[in-house]
Symmetry: C2
Subunit: 300 residues, 2 copies
């Protein structure tokens, strides 16, 4: 239109802060990923400085930040009302307990910051653009090095006393599984029995490396199905998105669906075949989750 | 004030619709219970007519209804968007599957109707006036003839695909418990192992009739503690209110707190001793829950 000046595009700084790597992205308001990189997770100050450096350079090329979203590994303080908002809580990861995660970005860029767990952020993104669109309640579970979960209930991510820690729920043992579990806190909680390290410790291989007829597939599906039933019983989600490295084992999602259906005994509303789904955003659930947090932070 | 006419007080019709009895009440806007009665639950039409009759007589004495709240046993259709809102869903209770619960009251009184599960309503009431005041997320569990639960998350009761059915979650067996469970759908789910009928079938008595040193107390606490950990892991509530007949067994709430703490292994935020509490509204959680639904329906 005449008289309208050309402006640089508005972009969002997106940070998926993981325990082994940070994925950084610049995302446009229409959710296109304009640039991305990954850096290894070192100590908090060093990692934050490297991330800020990349974001500064990238934003200089693409426009200006409207907001920044941080989807972080946990435990972290996600409650806005808390004076420790934006900090890590106690974590066994050396150097990270009590680290200020959000602060450096706020000081460097002076824009609104969204901050939540990586799994809550992924639940928001999958509900907004992915496999859980239109879901009244949506859950995102990751099954990998650890097991975690986030949820959107009544339109917003679930916080509370801390935030959800879905990997550490108790489960009933599979009759053929005598493994003691790897969780340092609980031994044979869900994460202790069904995470990647639990699988490798028990059978010497990852789940996808085991033969298709290995009993490990059924055992892991049995445990993950129990979490699906707990979620259904407690939060009645219409979508449970299962992501993370272990979830990519061929056939696993289908096995979890069938086992959930079997254990349900026809009791709950809805069909596990429809409810349990792989991520619609593929490997971008986390980065687009950070984008969703940035958009929400911008709106205040 | 001069010129102001004396008006009859505004009252709310409150219905706690249970499988064995309906508790009816007239409640003033300051939550005082002005009148109450109970009627046995017969067939839906007959029970509804009796309830409407009592409410008509009572309201004639006390004022006029601003709204009516119905806190019902389940499963029921609680989603406003559903064409079956206000109806029962499939239930083993003879005559009640698909019954129209809310409709007769709407037609008889022409006022806004609030309709939710008895446990969701109790969670709302306990968070508003009872033991869960100020809780970011609050859960109400009832342990009696069945086990059920409702929750307030992000400021509103949890609906979804149906509504929560917290009694039917899987649990890890207590090492000394060989009982097969009484749940017709799942056998040894939580309700199958820890409800009143499961206790009576297993030990021939109610939990309060068993000697204080009977292992049944520890076994039931072990199962209820697992639900508390699932709730904590999935929804991070700052209060879990445990009501219902079985929960009144002397010492049980404390045993559940201790077992939850033991099973938690110090992992979760908060202390089960603070989180797990008896109802603050005593036996009125359900009726005042219906009142809360009525108030919310009035506000639209």
């Amino acid at each position: 239109m005449m008289g309208r000046m050309t402006q640089a595009a508005t972009v969002y700084g997106c940070i998926e802060a993981g325990g082994t790597k940070f994925v950084l992205g610049l995302v446009a308001s229409d959710a296109r990923i304009l640039a991305r990189t990954r850096i290894a997770t070192a100590q908090p100050a060093e990692t934050g400085a490297a991330a800020i450096g990349w974001l500064r350079t990238a934003v200089a090329e693409h426009g200006r930040f409207a907001a920044i979203g941080i989807a972080t590994f946990g435990p972290a303080e996600v409650l806005h009302a808390s004076p420790r908002w934006g900090f890590m809580a106690d974590t066994p990861k050396p150097g990270w307990s009590g680290a200020d995660i959000a602060g450096p970005y706020a000081r460097a860029f002076g824009v609104p910051i969204g901050f939540d767990t990586d799994v809550n952020a992924a639940a928001v993104a999958e509900r907004r653009w992915g496999a859980a669109q239109g879901a009244e309640n949506a859950v995102y579970i990751t099954v990998g090095t650890g097991i975690g979960g986030g949820a959107v209930i009544n339109g917003a991510p679930v916080h509370g006393l801390g935030h959800p820690e879905m990997g550490h729920v108790p489960v009933a043992r599979h009759a053929e599984d005598r493994f003691g579990g790897v969780c340092p806190f609980h031994g044979d909680c869900l994460e202790g029995l069904a995470s990647g390290p639990a699988i490798e410790r028990r059978w010497g291989k990852s789940l996808s490396e085991l033969p298709r007829d290995h009993p490990g597939h059924g055992i892991i599906a049995h445990y993950l199905a129990q979490l699906c039933i707990m979620l259904t019983g407690i939060a009645a989600p219409s979508r449970i998105v299962i992501g993370g490295g272990v979830s990519q084992t061929p056939g696993l999602i289908d096995a979890v669906r069938r086992e959930t259906r079997r254990l349900s005994g026809g009791y709950f509303a809805g069909d596990p075949m429809d409810i349990i789904v792989p991520p619609g955003l593929g490997e971008n659930s986390g980065l687009l989750g950070a984008f969703a947090l940035a958009r929400d932070a911008e709106r205040g």
